[in-house]
């Protein structure tokens, strides 16, 4: 029994009773029209929103990507010049691409594995599950700007607590956010700290694995590691795959943490008050992510045409990923919420 059929029959019942002779088709058509109007009415906010905030800007972006546009003077058609500059000449473009790919290749797997590990430990805990779950989940709620500020201070190589403690242990700590080799791993640490959402999803998935599977595996003589490999992992693989894809999408738009970390860490060692004197992606461009470069070009240099060209490329990549997700949406649709 579906909603529509129910609605249709009830409408029919009401309409059909007094008018036996009247053209039934007309009644049905009117009911259909009324239903369509209802759907349109309910959907109207989204239809307007989608048109204005997705349809229009996508078309406009495509157009602007072929122009030179500074927002003050009308766009000037320059053909493929933006794309050529982007792929061939822009000294920062490939660095930003590499940085974003680094996130995809290292930060995302690290985050997923870490979340899985914590969830696994939690699933086996007997005491204080609620307490531990709260502690592991809470950092996910901390505003990213606040979390980043905190981490930049804690990981300050000169007088931050982490290096101080490492120093007491006789270890000379790394330069963290001040070094191009360590800045992205530092951001990864930050990401691991705020991994709560994925962790909760993993936890639920692990607890959902039917018990009897474990028991029969145990009867077959499987040890804990083998059970993990042959029972837990296969059962939660859709969740894992989902977590990876969502992680990749988030990595593509990774902005806040890198932007704040570079401004604060870079500002520490340079002129305060003026972002423009801090080197882009401090240190040595290592935190200049693709969306940040797009932002810089579009809204600091106001090369809006060029920023649009960068947006089109990002759109292409996101589109492919989205297709992958939607193709398998039947399996994943339940998890898509974590994209936010």
């Amino acid at each position: 029994m579906t909603v529509t059929r129910a609605a249709a029959t009830s409408a029919q019942d009401v309409a059909a009773l007094p008018a036996i002779v009247v053209d039934r088709r007309r009644t049905r058509r009117r009911a259909a029209w009324r239903r369509r109007r209802l759907v349109l009415l309910l959907m109207s906010p989204w239809i307007v929103g989608f048109t204005v905030f997705f349809g229009y800007p996508l078309v406009m972006s495509a157009y602007l990507s072929f122009t030179h546009y500074d927002l003050l003077n009308p766009p000037k058609w320059i053909g493929l010049a933006n794309y050529r500059y982007m792929l061939q000449d822009d000294p920062q473009f490939w660095g930003a691409v590499r940085n974003t790919l680094w996130l995809v290749a290292f930060m995302v797997p690290a985050q997923v594995l870490f979340a899985f590990g914590v969830a696994l430990m939690l699933s086996r805990a007997r005491q204080g599950v609620g307490f531990f779950r709260t502690i592991f989940y809470l950092p996910a709620l901390v505003p990213p700007v606040a979390a980043t500020l905190g981490f930049v201070y804690i990981l300050n190589p000169a007088n931050g607590p982490v290096n101080t403690i490492l120093g007491h242990l006789g270890i000379s700590g790394p330069l963290w956010f001040q070094s191009p080799q360590w800045s992205k791993p530092s951001l990864t640490l930050l990401a691991a700290w705020a991994v709560g959402n994925v962790m909760i999803i993993f936890l639920a998935a692990i607890l959902d694995v039917p018990r009897h599977l474990y028991e029969s595996a145990q009867l077959d003589g499987a040890g804990p590691l083998q059970r993990l490999r042959w029972v837990t992992l296969p059962s939660i693989s859709p969740v894992m795959l989902f977590a990876v894809i969502i992680g990749v999408i988030q990595a593509l738009q990774y902005f806040t943490q890198a932007y704040v970390a570079w401004n604060i860490a870079g500002g520490q060692a340079s002129q305060a008050g003026s972002v423009s004197t801090v080197e882009l992606g401090y240190p040595e461009g290592s935190t200049l992510m693709y969306p940040i470069l797009l932002y810089q070009n579009g809204f600091r240099y106001f090369h809006m045409g060029y920023a649009s060209a960068m947006a089109m490329l990002l759109l292409g990549v996101a589109f492919v990923l989205t297709l992958i997700i939607l193709r398998n949406s039947r399996r994943w649709v339940h998890y898509a919420g974590a994209a936010r």
Binding site: L71, A81, D89, N156, P180, Q268, A269, G273, S274
Partner: protein, 443 residues
């Protein structure tokens, strides 16, 4: 019943919010037309904290003398905000920027209006201003800004630390600077830096390529406007000198030192607290030290120069605060009155110079009797007047070409550039292409 109440609440909340969120804007746009009500002007400046208060006092004098104008000063503004505001159509009436090399951005795009007609109408001759300031307030003849105070750079040194190390006079060449720096540096047991003799890291406080350029006779561009970082010998000499001193300290040690050094404009500044013996800084530091650490025993001198060019000694980098009227500002006439007062009134400039210890930017105010004499500040007036002092080229991309150089220098000083010369050649190509792309991508 309940639904009606909810709806009513919703509407009420919305109206309230509309009023509150909109308030900032409506107050600006609904400028009262009545004769009595004063015109409200908004002025954006980069100064903050103590400096902002000094500036506000000068503006208050202007305000008081003109009952028909009411000026609101907003401090702590940087160029990012200025550019965003002008493109976003949300600009103030008068706007000023610390980054004079961005004047190309403002003039070329038409974001700031041409002040030429206003100057002509008010019969203000260009010779009112000093030559260097005239250069960085225009782009290709379009004078879209005027100077309000100027900045020059010199050497600050701690006299007590000098005495302890047996030194008497400031260094005059970069070789000497290195030698002194080594003598003045004190290290902790674990090899980290306790007191830095001279911190040469690019990006640290005022250590920028632009500020060092004039000291090595280095040129940014050739007459055709092409970048000459690889061909003007000053740059490679500067880089080699800088790298050798960085390597002496150990790059990692310097990074650590910088990370723990505290803020440049806070009382914890390492020079002010005796953790740094020498530094390159602008003239404003004199006022900061007076306000924060009057007990500090220090002196100032021109920066040392390349020993092959002794004639450069006494020169330095010059730039300054520029001020203009945004195209989308509202009250241009009143804005011009304020701008004129701030840029040409000898008394205003002298008071500002005394309070901020910035260099006055008109010929008359440089000789004003009101200026408080101070030998440590006079150094900078002399640097300002030196014929070899210079500023950075004004381009249509503002200082974006310097961003590219900065990125290169960061890699270079960390020891991650294979060949300096080919790196610089590459950089020249990139900067030329960047300029072309910004100009519209059409050759």
């Amino acid at each position: 019943m309940k639904r009606v109440a909810t709806a009513a609440l919703l509407v009420a909340a919305l109206t309230l919010a509309a009023g509150l969120i909109g308030s900032a804007r409506s107050s600006a746009s609904a400028a009262p037309r009545a004769k009595q009500a004063p015109v409200k002007l908004t002025l954006w400046v980069g100064w903050s904290a103590r400096e902002l208060n000094v500036f506000k006092k000068v503006v208050a004098e202007f305000d008081k003398a003109r009952p028909n104008i009411d000026v609101k000063v907003v401090g702590g503004i940087n160029d990012e905000k200025i550019i965003a505001a002008m493109r976003g159509g949300n600009a103030p009436d008068v706007v000023s920027s610390f980054t004079s090399s961005n004047v190309g951005n403002f003039c070329a795009s038409g974001a700031w209006i041409d002040l030429g007609p206003y100057l002509q109408r008010a019969k203000i001759a260009l010779s009112t201003f000093t030559p260097a300031t005239l250069y960085y307030t225009q782009y290709k003849g379009n004078r879209c800004a005027l100077p309000v105070l100027a900045d020059t750079f010199g050497l600050y040194y701690n006299k007590k630390l000098f005495k302890d190390a047996g030194l008497t006079a400031p260094p005059k060449t970069f070789e000497q600077l290195t030698e002194y720096a080594k003598k003045l540096t004190k290290k902790n047991a674990n090899g980290t830096i306790k007191v830095a003799g001279y911190n040469p890291v690019f990006g640290f406080y005022q250590n920028s390529a632009a500020n060092y350029g004039p000291l090595w006779g280095a040129k940014w561009t050739n007459p055709k406007g092409a970048s000459t970082l690889a061909t003007s010998p000053g740059w490679s000499k500067l880089l080699r000198w800088q790298k050798s001193l960085v390597d002496w300290y150990g790059y990692k040690n310097l990074v650590k030192y910088n990370a723990g050094a505290g803020d440049e404009f806070a009382a914890s500044h390492p020079f002010e607290t005796g953790k740094m013996a020498m530094m390159m800084d602008g003239e404003w530091r004199v006022a900061f030290i007076e306000a924060e650490h009057p007990e500090l025993d220090y002196a100032t001198a021109p920066m040392p120069v390349d020993s092959a060019h002794p004639e450069l000694y006494g020169a330095g980098y010059v730039n300054g605060t520029i001020i203009g009227i945004p195209k989308n500002g509202k009250n241009r006439e009143q804005a011009w009155q304020l701008l004129r007062y701030l840029t040409t009134n000898t008394h205003a400039l002298a008071v500002l110079s005394n309070g901020l210890r910035n260099v006055p930017s008109t010929r008359a105010s440089l000789k004003s009797k009101e200026l408080k004499p101070d030998p440590r500040f006079d150094t900078f007036l002399k640097v300002f007047a030196h014929p070899k002092s210079s500023t950075t080229p004004i381009t249509a991309v503002g200082s974006a070409y310097q961003d590219l150089f900065t990125s290169f220098l960061a890699k270079y000083q960390a020891g991650r550039v294979g060949s300096m010369q080919s790196g610089l050649r590459n950089l020249d190509k990139q900067i030329d292409k960047q300029l072309k792309q910004a100009g519209g991508g059409v050759p």
